[in-house]
């Protein structure tokens, strides 16, 4: 999951052609649902849940409410982030900003309700599950909200600090995605769990930096230091190559040492190959929003490969 994934622009003329025979009310409802899913980043909920299921599969954990809790928290945090950044997003994502501003009250209630529900559900998993569920919210307060700067001029929103901003996002989600299903299952920490955690941490970091390439101007304008803002797009691409290649080496080493099974390593490595291809497109693609979604969709690819490799589906 990344924090700044954006949607491709909507082409109205195209829709007029294909839905000519459908009642206007149905089309309107469809547009509204699509707007909600894209502008509130609700599609990330699905990807986050798939990530948790991937952890279930890799660590052989029984199914539990962790994926639902992570899905609810993902919606709450990302949609909450959209609300907090609605004004800043006017420059980079005017349509999303307008949508969030228009539905601010509803989104605010929805995000609060979903996080509240997630917390209540997590209690069934015990104190550790509750703590992990609270973590993304706590990190978001440190990361994006204006609370930290109110403590003094020394503090500033972590979102504005180079590397820390993406690292904190990656850390929060890696802990939640790996830790929550384990906490629900009361599973102990194993080397394999450590490998999965590192993989998801680095991978989420990469996915967070991809949309930053598109948002260079907007981030610069609001004082957010990202790798593309500080080092430029070409160097960012090199950094992403480096991270993906390091991860490939890390997974290879884990495979060689027997911590990771071959099917799991194969699925992850294929996914990282996919990530390297995406990294080549960074700064070269005419549709950076779709590139960011493609980065997130890699988790679907890895999950599908895992299903094929481990269950023979």
């Amino acid at each position: 999951m990344a924090s700044k994934t954006n949607e491709p622009p909507v082409t109205t003329d195209h829709h007029v052609r294909w839905h000519a025979g459908i009642p206007a009310s149905v089309v309107d409802a469809g547009h509204r649902i699509k707007d909600v899913l894209t502008y509130s980043s609700a599609y990330l909920v699905f990807i986050a849940m798939v990530e948790v299921l991937t952890v279930h599969l890799v660590l052989s954990l029984p199914l539990n409410p962790a994926s639902v809790v992570v899905g609810l928290v993902t919606f709450a945090v990302y949609a909450g982030d959209r609300i907090a950044d609605a004004e800043d997003d006017e420059l980079s994502s005017p349509e999303r900003s307008a949508f969030v501003t228009r539905h601010r009250r509803l989104l605010s209630m929805l995000t609060a309700g979903t996080y509240g529900l997630a917390i209540a559900l997590s209690i069934t998993g015990g104190p550790l599950a509750l703590g992990i569920t609270l973590l993304p919210g706590a990190f978001w307060i440190l990361y994006a909200s204006e609370w930290l700067p109110t403590l003094g001029s020394y503090f500033k929103r972590l979102k504005r600090i180079l590397v820390v901003n993406s690292a904190i996002v990656a850390l929060a989600w890696a802990i939640a995605v790996v830790g929550l299903p384990m906490a629900f299952a009361e599973a102990s920490v194993t080397p394999l769990a450590g490998v999965v955690f590192v993989y998801l941490f680095v991978d989420t970091f990469v996915n967070t930096e991809i949309p930053n390439v598109r948002d260079v101007a907007a981030d610069e304008a609001v004082g957010v230091s990202t790798i593309p803002v500080v080092f430029g797009i070409q160097r960012t691409r090199h950094v992403l190559y480096g991270l993906d290649l390091s991860l490939i080496a890390f997974v290879g080493a884990a495979l060689a040492s027997g911590v990771v099974s071959t099917p799991v390593a194969a699925a992850i490595l294929l996914g990282l190959g996919y990530a390297l291809v995406l990294a080549w497109f960074v700064g070269r693609s005419a549709a950076p929003g779709r590139l960011a979604i493609a980065g997130e969709a890699k988790h679907l690819v890895v999950f599908a490969l895992l299903l094929v490799f481990t269950t023979g589906l």
Binding site: A76, G80, I83, R105, S108, M109, T111, A112, G113, Y115, G116, L117, I119, A120, I123, T124, G126, P127, L130, G137, W147
Partner: protein, 562 residues
């Protein structure tokens, strides 16, 4: 894992979900008044519920006791957060100082310490007391400090409710809705807790108080969303009243029914030359040399403070404060500095004497010399000196008008006023036919209105040069106003004169021909009214003076003697 699926447990989960949601919403509304304490209140509630759920799912008695102890953190956060919320939300945040918060937190902190260290003392004991029908361990809590903590919690609960109760009768629907929702939110768990502690609610293994948080969470959500608690906030109201009281230019002193000063603003303290805090509780009579004249004659009385050279005079007004039954609670005394006014009045008196006496005397002497000669020149001198006397009388009228307007006025019947003015005019202008149109209903009007009416009639009669000079004077009362109109069949008032009048001031190049119309304008304006000019048919002008009839006599201060 949790085994129980009772309604109570579901409600506990609900209270956590709703409480957490409301806490997030409140967090987003910081720094709106009350938002931060409400976050803590909801965190406390949710933590309490969470600990009970963890206790139920612990599986062993030791675990139940452990989570019951941990729950005390939430238990004691709630009352402190509630009182802080109530103070901040209603605008009384000046009481929220670090020192006060620390003092408020003493009992809760000690309670948590006693709860954690419970095996080593009996001040607050937490122990297993059996097993509920569903197999969960029943925990018994008690001890001297338990009673202290419960009493402290109820006390803060009541203290927090008091300022919010006042909003129930607010004119704003949003504030009424917010306060009602807040009261439901706090009273539901508190009532449940009282009933539980009194043994009215039979224990079923868990303290039912957190279960009631499900209701209070919904109430708080309703206050936030439905009644826009952080969108329409009553906090400024309280502060605004204080600000206005402290910053008005007039001194303000509130005395109770026993003549004791219960409130005084900065200006009031400055006027009396005392410290505001020292004045509170003192007798008003000892600080203010007021006597019963204020209540008996209703006339203007001034309070003079200071030595001869630097003395300041104040107009003291007393406004009665009554309860909803009309019983007197006390008075608000306002002290308005009238030093400049009194100085102005002294100057006017000197001018009055000059206009009334000196000019007339000098004119009489001139007339005396003129009578010693004959011819057109003597005639002109006589006419012009008469004119000087008339102008001086107008000036004197103006001075009296100003004095009357700012002092307590004599009053007169409207019908009598019109009759008297017409009688005077008939005597002064025998060649003019006067007609009267008396009012249907008679009312009392300020005597100063006679200056206006006299000048209107005089203006209509004197400047009418037609063959059959007619002046019609009428009066009416409607919509709380008294109207007097004067219609004539003369040539009409020159537009130039009216333009000067409307401009409100004169210059060396643009000025009227006399004082008559100015007296009409000033007179009506000083009485709070207005004057209008309309053309009459076929010739002439209809001038209408309208003044409001509402008059409030505020001078009725009578300190109740002890």
């Amino acid at each position: 894992m949790l085994a129980s699926s009772s309604i109570a447990v579901l409600l506990l989960f609900g209270s956590v979900a709703i409480g957490s949601s409301a806490a997030i919403l409140a967090w987003r509304n910081r720094p709106e008044p009350g938002a931060s304490p409400l976050v803590w209140l909801l965190i406390g509630q949710s933590w309490w519920s969470t600990c009970i759920i963890f206790g139920l799912s612990a599986g062993d008695p030791a675990g139940v006791v452990r989570w019951t102890k941990a729950g005390w953190v939430g238990v004691m956060i709630v009352p402190v957060a509630w009182i802080l919320f109530a103070l901040e939300y209603t605008g009384r945040d000046q009481y929220i100082t670090r020192r006060n918060v620390a003092l408020l937190a003493v009992v809760p902190a000690l309670t948590v310490v006693f709860a954690v260290t419970t095996p080593y003392h009996d001040a607050l004991y937490i122990q297993q007391a059996g097993v509920a029908p569903d197999g969960t361990a029943v925990v018994e809590q008690g001890g001297l400090w338990y009673a202290v903590a419960a009493g402290y919690t109820y006390l803060l609960g009541v203290l927090g409710i008091l300022p919010i109760l006042g909003l129930l009768s607010s004119g704003a629907t949003a504030f009424r809705g917010q306060s009602a929702a807040l009261l439901v939110g706090i009273l539901t768990p508190w009532t449940t807790n009282i009933l539980y502690n009194l043994g009215v609610l039979s224990p079923v293994g868990i303290d039912p108080t957190p279960v009631a948080f499900a209701v209070s969470g919904v109430a708080y959500l309703g206050a936030i969303d439905r009644f826009r608690m952080f969108g329409a906030n009553p906090a400024p109201t309280w502060r605004a009243k204080e600000f206005l009281f402290d910053h008005i230019h007039e001194g303000a002193i509130v005395v109770d029914g026993h003549d004791t000063i219960v409130e005084i603003n900065r200006t009031g303290a400055d006027i009396l030359g005392i410290d505001a805090d020292r004045a509170l509780g003192a007798s008003a009579s000892s600080l203010l040399p007021l006597d019963d004249r204020l209540e008996t004659d209703g006339g203007r009385d001034f309070l003079t403070i200071g030595t001869e050279a630097t003395s300041q005079s104040y107009d003291v007004t007393a406004t009665e404060l009554t309860d909803r039954h009309g019983e007197t609670l006390g008075h608000v005394l306002t002290l308005h500095n009238v030093t400049q006014y009194l100085q102005q009045q002294q100057r006017l008196r000197v001018l009055n004497r000059v206009l009334r006496h000196n000019i007339r005397t000098e004119a009489n002497i001139i007339q005396g010399y003129a009578e010693r000669t004959t011819g057109a020149t003597a005639e002109t001198i006589t006419q012009r000196t008469m004119r000087i006397v008339e102008i001086s009388e107008k000036g004197r009228d103006a001075i009296e008008l100003f004095e009357d307007a700012v002092s307590d006025r004599d009053t007169v019947s409207l019908a009598a006023l019109v009759d008297r003015s017409l009688d005077d005019a008939a005597e002064a202008f025998p060649g003019v036919a006067f007609e009267a149109e008396p009012p249907d209903a008679d009312v009392v009007v300020p005597d100063a209105l006679s200056v206006v009416v006299n000048n209107l009639i005089e203006n209509a009669a004197a400047h009418n040069d037609g063959e059959q000079r007619r002046v019609r004077v009428g009066a009416a009362v409607d919509d709380g106003d008294a109207r007097v109109w004067v219609a004539d069949n003369g040539p009409g008032i020159d537009d130039y004169e009216l333009n000067v009048l409307n401009a409100g001031t004169e210059t060396a190049l643009q000025h009227g021909s006399g004082l008559g119309l100015w007296l009409v304008k000033w007179g009506t304006e000083l009485l709070g009214g207005s004057v209008s000019f309309e053309p009459n048919e076929p010739t002439g002008t209809v001038v209408t003076a309208t003044i409001p009839l509402e008059r409030v006599d505020r001078r009725s201060y009578a300190p109740r003697r002890r």
